[in-house]
Each structure stands twice: as structure tokens, then as C-alpha cells.
Amino acid sequence: MDAQSLTRWYRTHRKAIVVAVSGLLYAGGWTLGYLTAYDTASAAVLLLAAIAGGYDIASAAYHEVKSRTLGIKTLVTLAAIGAIGIGAYWEAAAVVFLFALGSYLEGRTMRKTRNALQELLEMTPDTATVRRDGEQREVPARDVEDGEIVIVKPGEKVPVDGDVVDGESAVNQAPVTGESAPVHKADGDEVYAGTINQEGALEIATTGAGSDTTLQRIIRRVEEAQEAQSPTESLIDRFATYYTPGVIVLSIGAYALTQNAILSLTLLVIGCPGALVIGPPVSIVSAIGNAARSGVLMKGGEHLERAGTIDLVAFDKTGTLTKGETAVADIEGFGVDEEDVLAYAAIAEKKSEHHLGDAILAAARERGPAVPDGGRAAAIEAEEQGPSDDGTAAAVPTETDATGRAIPDADDFDVIPGKGVVAHYDGQQIVVGNRSLLEERGIDVPGEVAEYVREREERGETAVHVVHRAAGASAHSVVGVIALRDELREAAPDVVAALQDQGIRTVMLTGDNERTAAAVAEEVGIDEYRAALLPADKQAAIEDLQAEGHVVAMVGDGINDAPSLATADVGIAMGAAGTDTAIETADMALMADDLQRIPYAVSLSKATRWNIYENVGLAVLTVALLLAGVLTSYVTLASGMLVHEASVLAVIGNGMRLLRY
């Protein structure tokens, strides 16, 4: 080992060396005093122990005084000097050694907590293989520019955020989303820096590199969350502003009464609220770190503490309890072909941008039925198009093009939120909607139609009526019903049961009608449901549940449900990895669409709340006992310091349990 690396080794291990030297000298001096009669020799060794352990403390104390703060190190230094002054070498050495040992261990364990996130950061490789000027080159990952093609071989970690442009593979996204199962990625799919490419080579068009990646953004959010003060922390800080001067007054009073300098210094040193102020932050930082590694972003201690009190979880149905992939399950024509029912509905829904409309359009494109009324209109378009047209396709001709198949544009259409759509096309009127829309418009629903609708709804499906009025006619007729189904997520019943086991009430909020909602609620095993809610009603439903005295968490997608997430005591957004808005509005964000994280997040929050109580309780009890002990002379400077440092370590250790929760 050369001199330079020896210096470096000394610098990084200085604290440990100081503690060890001071400890050995302390033990030596104590043994000497115990075994022999050489009191002076023993005192000298103990003095050396105090100096070895106390030098760094005293120099930090000097800087504390210089920056005009009264810190623990100044107090410890004063106490040690005072003890030496009255010849209590053993006490001086003990208090210095115990304080140095305690600080060293505390710093070490806190480092472990702080490093929990660094491990995530280290998941991102430093270099990336890019294609530049027709050849592959290795460059620093942060220098990759947007749009550049990065090649990721099987087994490699993805160095940048980007979209797959070539290749197909399974990618382990655990570092970002916490999902343990690899996710299949192909052309057009988004991949995140820090994830692991497991199977095939991928070529990625870069969308973000360096500090501008999803993982980096998440980590910054997590750190901000860890730095934000929780209500308990603020409370303790406020308490400390009265408590600390109180201890000072107490120790001055004790000196005035007893003229015992050591007693009053002891009061000062062990009266420091060490365990009290360190407990809550350690609990919270550990819990937030743990959650982050499981793909749950907690927005801060405040949210975490509140989440620990929730007794009701409300789920939005679509996309949360269900997969959010609504598809046509069945079509029934009444006096018309099924194909025609679908075609009418497709025209009306073409621009509705509603998820039921999207499903109808997808079915229409897939089945490719001819547009009803023969040759006048075009046939169904086969060309690939996104489910919700963005208007660029508006120029699709409605004149028949013998080969081209297109869903013609309606001449006009009117979306009635929560009810359906009314459209006109070539003199005809098409209404696609639920029972209440038909009632509102005075359209009769024949018994056989109602019967069919009931049958589908009892299976948890959504049935929409398709109504047609021919050009020039005045009477409407219900020509058919389309039944749509959104499959439940497999985990949904287990998740609901797990929450119920924790004593939490579960509620489903949905725009579906009563019968569909009841069927789905039964299938999931949810306690309660609120049906036929318009988007704005969901927020009111949350307020309603709160008025009943519940502390409500709301689970939704974070975009459509933003208002209800904001109203709930704790808003939980799902599948937030790619969407900053969802992270913005929610108190808690699940990076993946993984419902199973919800019982985990709720129980982690509850455990954190208890952990904080335990820590505060232990700290208050320790300080109270120590103060009483000092005032009654049962506790000395050294033994007080031992208990004080032990209580701080106990509190840190207890908080860190949450890292492994």
C-alpha cells in the first residue's frame, strides 16, 4: 500500500479508527485503575482516551461556536472538560468514547438508509452503444441525443429512455416499476433507462438520456418526498424549539441549587432530544425508500402519515379493477342484421372519443361490415387507424370507393356525457346510448330488447342501444344492442380481500348502470358500489364517503380521475411510470398497473405510522427516565450517555426495519 492510498484509507476510516483507539485506551485505563494501585497511570491513560476520542468532537465544537450555534458537540466537549477539571477522568473518557461510538454507528446506519436509493441509480449503465455515421460506437450514456438509435444487446441494461424501433424482447422493468415479471417489448413500445433487456437485441430511438430519464425523475421525486417534513416531524421541531431552552434553564437552575457543575452538564448532554428528532425522519425515509424499490412513489411523509389512517379504499372501476380494454362481447340485432347494427353504431361513435366508442369502432374495423343502405355510403375502412380518430381522417370520402372501406363521418354528432351520442348521417338519425338517453328522448324500448339488455348486464357487461331513424321518417326504432365487456384484472378479487383483511372498507365507483355494477361488484367481492356516476359525480361520491366519517383513499388512473384523486384524503394513481401528470396529482403513484401494490402500500403506511409512534414513545420515555435519574443522582454522565446513545441507535434500528418491510 503506497502512502497516498494509505492516506485515503485513513481519511475514509478516520471515525472508526478514532473510536477504536479511544475505546482501547479507555478499556486499558479502566483496567489499570481496577487492577493496580497506579491511580496516576490510570488517569493518564484515561485522559489520553478522552483526547483521542474528543479531538474531533472538540474541533467540530469549535466550528459550531464559530458559526454561533449551540450544538451537541459543544455540550459534550464542555461536559468532558468539566469532568477532567474535577478529576473525573473515567467519566470524561467514557462520555467521549460513548458519544464517538454512538455518532459513528448512527452515521453508518443512516448511510445505509441514504444508499437505498443509490442502488437504483446504479442500475443505469454509464455507456451506451449508439449508431453514428453508420457505425456502432460506445459513448457516455448521458451524451446520447434525443432521436439517436441505441443498441441494447440481450443481458444488457437499457442506458436511455426510448421507443423500440427494431427487435423484440422481454424487459425486466423492476428497477423502475417494481414489477417482477418481464414485460414484452416490440416495435413502438417505450423502454426505460435502468431496466434489463433479457432476450433479444433491441434498437431504441432515444427520448431521454442522462438526468432526463424516467428513473432519474422518479428518484428526484423520491428524494424530494424524503426531504419533505411530515406533520409529526414539524410537531417535534416546534416542540424542540421550546424543549431545548427548557433543558438549558433546567440545568442552570440545577447548578444554582446544587453548585454541581457536572450535574448540570449531564442534564444538558443527556437532555438533548436525540432519539426524538431522529426517529420520525428515519421511519419515513426508510418507508419511502422501500416503497420506491417496489415501484410505489410516495409523495412525502405527510401523505404517508395520512395513508396510515385510511379506513376506506375507493376504486374507479374502468382501468383500475378492470383491464381497461373494453371489447364488444356480443351484438344482437332486432329486425336488422348484427352487421348493420355495428355499422350504424360505428358511424355515430366515429369521433366520440369515448372508450365504449373505441371498442365499437375496433369491432367494426375488424369485422368490416358494409355500411347499411347499400351503395350510397362507403364501406368500412380497413386501413389501420388509431381507435380514436384525431381528425386527420376527416377527409375520408363518403362517396363509395369500390375497394376502399371506410367508416363514413357523421354529418354532425352530439355527445351526451355519461349517456351516449346522437348523430346524423345522410338524413338518418342514429342514437347510441343507455336507457336514460332513450327515456330522455322518448324512444320506446321493446320488451325483448329490455330482456336482452338485462341478461347482458347481469353478466357485468355494458349494453348500449342502437337506435335508427330513417331519412324522412318520424319514428325511431331500436335496431339492436351491443354488449361490451371489460375483463376484470386477475388480481382484483385478491386485492379487495387483502384490504378487507386489514379492516378496510372497499367501494367501487363506476359510470355503469346499477345492474352491471352489481354484477361486477359481486364478482370482485367489493363491499359497496356506487353506480351510474358521471365523471363529476365521482368527486361528489368521495366527499360523501368522507362526510360519513371515513378517511378515503381513491385509486384511479390519475388523468381522468384527477379531480377525485385530489379530493380523496389519499389519491393513488396507477400505471404512472410514463405519465408525469398522474405523478403530479396523486399522493401515491404506482409505477406499474399492478393492483397488488395497493394492499402493500396501505399496510406499509400503517406500519410506518406505528413505527413513528414507537420511536416517539421510546424517545420520550428514555429522556424522561434519564432526566429523573440525573436529578436523583442515579444516573451519571457516563451511564446517561450510554443510555442516550443506545436509545438513539434503537430508534434508528427500529425505523430501518421499514426498509425490509
Binding site: I57, H63, I72, G107, R114, P281, I284
Partner: protein, 71 residues
């Protein structure tokens, strides 16, 4: 000209030690704003580059007995 730098101190052992470091950094010449976060060990310093010497920040942290690392 105002600039911002970050340090990371992984071995803070108590919240009040972090605030002591914060106050010490605040007294360094040219420092405009400083935030020391005990929980994450993150130190953010806004300073006037024409007055302050960034090396002084690390020395100030070391004087208090902690090991600063560049971010």
C-alpha cells in the same frame, strides 16, 4: 453570477448536526442560499461565483467532521 452546486454527505448522524452544517455553509462568503437535508444527505448551495470558492464548501463540511462527496 449565481450558480448552484450540490454535495452529498452520507454520514450525517443527527438532524441538528445537519442544521449546524447548514448554518456554517450559510456563513461562507458568497453563499446566497443553502439547504442541507438530513434524511437524504443532500446539500444544495446557491452561490455567487465571483465571490465564493466552491472548495470552501467541502472544507466547511469537513470541519464539522463529515465527508462530502460530489454528486
Amino acid at each position: 453570477m449565481s450558480e448552484t452546486t450540490q454535495l452529498r454527505v452520507l454520514d450525517f448522524d443527527c438532524p441538528s448536526c445537519a442544521s449546524t452544517v447548514e448554518r456554517a455553509l450559510d456563513r461562507v462568503e458568497g453563499v446566497e442560499d443553502v439547504a442541507v437535508h438530513f434524511t437524504t444527505g443532500r446539500v444544495e448551495i446557491d452561490y455567487d461565483a465571483s465571490v465564493a470558492d466552491p472548495d470552501e464548501f467541502e472544507r466547511t463540511v469537513e470541519n464539522q467532521g463529515y465527508t462530502p462527496q460530489p454528486v
